[in-house]
């Protein structure tokens, strides 16, 4: 029975991913299973169809023309299928229509989860053009426009024009910045490219899903009806996100009042899934402008070419990268959603203070936000993006991620009582930007041990120096710090409020020497 249930579930998953179910899923079934699969198809007819990505008629015509020409020349063909494998398929609108259809027909039967709908709409967003305004307000109620940015985004490409006319473009092959004030064009490395605007649609959708949220009503935002969501990061102050009722996409974000300042990001105009003029992403040096170039990297065809430019041979996953960029000191392998950066290892490997630790190639593996970093065969390898674990595993076969199911704290010989209210207040303080040292387990351990030695407070340099503390384990939620001198041998720490990179560490136990 389980096998049949799983098969049926896989079949539904394939259709939900808008993919043709595997032949095995169809052929190996019993008549009962086939009947249920047919019922699945029938239920799905209540949905709006997922339409192809924009530009489909052109791609279709091209593929048809090629096949007809092949037919004409050989009079026999089986024909290559020129399946469109475009990223960012256009289903946002379909998703919106589907929800409307479902709500119209089954109102009251189901709870509509706007966050899931938003997440799906964001994933399906193929391109957009919009104007993003960033406004700040102080505790006295004074509000001002901090900046206004015009944005064009299509797949991996984007262009961004600031108030002062500065235009930054990354077209997937090159990145450049046109600076009208100084009349220069700066050529910049196209990958990796850090976050663009401070209000990234994908990040916001992810955060909203991750943290508890409630619907706080509907409001008009820049003339559009939007659902207001209150999002409450554990232990943090709530903030608000507005989701456009028509497209299910986030249109406004308002931060909590932190340090007497609150910021609101608003798309005052937003056109999702509309064709964008290709000229926006075409490099053209304006007349009279000088070109400023500081190792912008070169797009190369093979790893061998990259090796010649960068003077080292990178370690490669089995899967070939989409693009390779070679710089004087590094090689970047770009997989679209994930980027690998390799450099020659220099000095000792120091994981970021609030990272979790795993192992790779027999050494430590730094796990920090969506980034993995380790050393292997004299190279330092850093992978950012959603497929980091899969690709890292192809380079370092022994890759082990931190085991956050493992309880490290049971071993502590002395338990340290913790007042959760104080910890929560500390977390909010850190969220406001104060005392960031609490995000670093080493610094928390250093402070704790030195206060044991000098309970009246640390004057000047701590008695037991920071160099005596070494992070032994950090699985992201719990950590153990070893101390080479003083009355304490090991310190046990835990992220009690929030178990991600924004969560503070508290000492929950120690082993006396």
């Amino acid at each position: 029975m389980n096998e049949l249930e799983n098969k049926l579930s896989d079949y539904i998953d394939a259709l939900n991913a808008e993919q043709e179910p595997e032949k095995g899923q169809l052929a190996a079934g019993t008549p009962e299973l086939e009947k249920l699969m047919a019922t699945v198809l029938q239920v799905r007819t209540l949905k709006e169809p997922a339409l192809p990505a924009p530009g489909y008629p052109k791609r279709l015509a091209k593929a048809v023309a090629v096949q007809i020409q092949e037919n004409n020349s050989s009079n026999y063909q089986r024909g290559r299928r020129l399946r469109n494998r475009w990223i960012g398929p256009f289903v946002a609108l379909a998703a919106g229509l589907l929800l409307v259809a479902v709500l119209t027909s089954w109102t009251g039967l189901f709870n509509r989860d706007v966050v899931y709908a938003m997440e799906k709409a964001v994933v399906s967003l193929s391109n957009y053009h919009g104007i993003l305004e960033v406004r700040s307000r102080n505790a006295a109620g004074e509000e001002w426009l901090a900046r206004r940015v015009e944005l064009w985004s299509e797949g991996d490409k984007y262009a961004m024009r600031q108030d002062d006319g500065t235009l930054t473009v990354n077209n997937g092959e090159r990145k450049w910045q046109v600076r009208p004030q100084s009349k220069e064009v700066a050529l910049l490395p196209p990958a990796p490219d850090p976050a663009k605007t401070g209000f990234d649609l994908r990040d916001e959708a992810k955060r909203a899903k991750q943290y508890p949220h409630t619907v706080a009503g509907t409001e008009l935002v820049a003339g559009r009806q939007a659902t207001k969501l209150e999002i409450s990061p554990p232990g943090g102050l709530p903030y608000y996100l507005w989701i456009d009722a028509e497209t299910n996409l986030p249109v406004q974000l308002q931060t909590a009042m932190q340090n007497a300042l609150m910021t609101t990001f608003t798309f005052t105009s937003f056109e999702p899934n509309m064709p964008i003029d290709p000229h926006v992403f075409t490099y053209q040096q304006p007349e009279g402008y000088t070109v400023v170039e500081k190792d912008p990297g070169q797009l190369v065809a093979t790893v061998q070419e990259a090796a010649v430019i960068s003077n080292f041979t990178p370690l490669l996953p089995q899967e070939a990268p989409g693009r390779i960029f070679a710089f004087q000191d590094r090689i970047v392998l770009d997989y679209g959603d994930t980027t690998i950066i390799e450099t020659v290892a220099q000095e000792s490997f120091e994981p970021v203070a609030n990272s979790a630790l795993g192992t790779a190639a027999g050494g430590p593996l730094e796990v920090w936000w969506e980034r993995l970093r380790w050393r292997q065969e004299g190279l330092e390898i850093q992978i950012d993006g959603i497929r980091r674990v899969e690709l890292a595993g192809q380079i370092a076969a022994d890759l082990t991620l931190p085991d956050n199911g493992q309880n490290l704290l049971n071993r502590a010989q002395v338990k340290v009582p913790v007042d959760l209210e104080i910890v929560k207040a500390n977390q909010q303080q850190v969220d406001r930007g104060s005392s960031p040292w609490q995000l670093d387990p080493l610094q928390v351990a250093t402070t704790f041990v030195n206060l044991k030695v000098t309970p009246d407070g640390i004057q000047g340099e701590p008695l037991i120096p920071a160099s005596a503390f070494k992070l032994a384990v950090n699985n992201g939620a719990q950590a153990v710090v070893e101390v080479t001198g003083g009355p304490i041998k090991q310190v046990y720490l835990e992220r009690l409020v929030r178990q991600d990179e924004t969560g503070i560490w508290s000492v929950v136990g120690y082993d006396p020497r």
């Binding site: 249930e5 049926l8 008629p57």
Partner: protein
């Protein structure tokens, strides 16, 4: 002009007008126009003519195919194959004097049946010439409307839990893990619940067939 509730099509002098009444709330009506001249060029492989024909006619055809296969990947493939087969067929036969869209739907049905046969190794072949395209398209639309009504009635007979699991998994396309989170069930319980809900629905549909 024939007034069918679903799709109808006419050749008026040199114009092929495809009227697409899409069956959804709001009843959007689209007029899609292509010409006999363009069709002639298209069947000879003229890329621009093919593009104009595709632009004018792809959507109702795609929707028709999607209705049958319920996934974009296969719908795109079959749409493409249908255009190739239609234009190749027209190269060998005289110009089409009737319902172009209906004809393409018939070709699409043949492609679909071929694929199903390949998958299941059974089923009967369908001949192009034996099918009345206008009737096929018309019948299909009526059938779709009837099926929708029947389905909505059948769904209403399920328990609320069963409707919820089908809504989340199939209509809203949530994963098993997401559905489990939303309903407070385990993933295994979601798989069992969706299996039983579909069994229940299939039985109701069979009983009322």
């Amino acid at each position: 002009m024939r007034q069918a509730p679903g799709f109808s099509c006419n050749v008026l002098d040199n114009l092929i007008v495809v009227i697409d009444v899409i069956n959804r709330p709001g009843k959007k009506v689209q007029l899609l126009v292509t010409t006999v001249e363009e069709l002639k060029k298209a069947k000879e492989g003229d890329r621009q003519a093919i593009e104009r024909v595709c632009s004018a006619t792809w959507e109702p055809l795609y929707r028709f195919i999607y209705f049958k296969v319920q996934n974009r990947e296969e719908a795109e493939d079959i749409t493409q194959e249908t255009y190739v087969k239609t234009l190749t067929y027209l190269q060998k036969h005289q110009a089409l004097q009737g319902n172009f869209l209906g004809f393409m739907k018939t070709v699409a049905l043949n492609v679909l049946r071929d694929r199903w046969r390949q998958k299941k190794r059974r089923g009967a072949p369908v001949n192009f010439e034996e099918i009345n395209p206008e009737e096929t398209a018309h019948m299909d639309h009526q059938k779709a409307v009837a099926q929708r009504l029947q389905l909505e009635n059948a769904l209403a007979k399920l328990s609320e839990d069963q409707r919820t699991v089908l809504d989340l998994r199939i209509i809203k396309s949530y994963s098993v893990a997401e559905t489990a989170k939303l309903t407070g069930k385990t993933e295994a319980a979601v798989r069992t619940a969706q299996y039983r809900a579909l069994q229940g629905l299939a039985k109701i549909l069979e009983d009322h067939a």
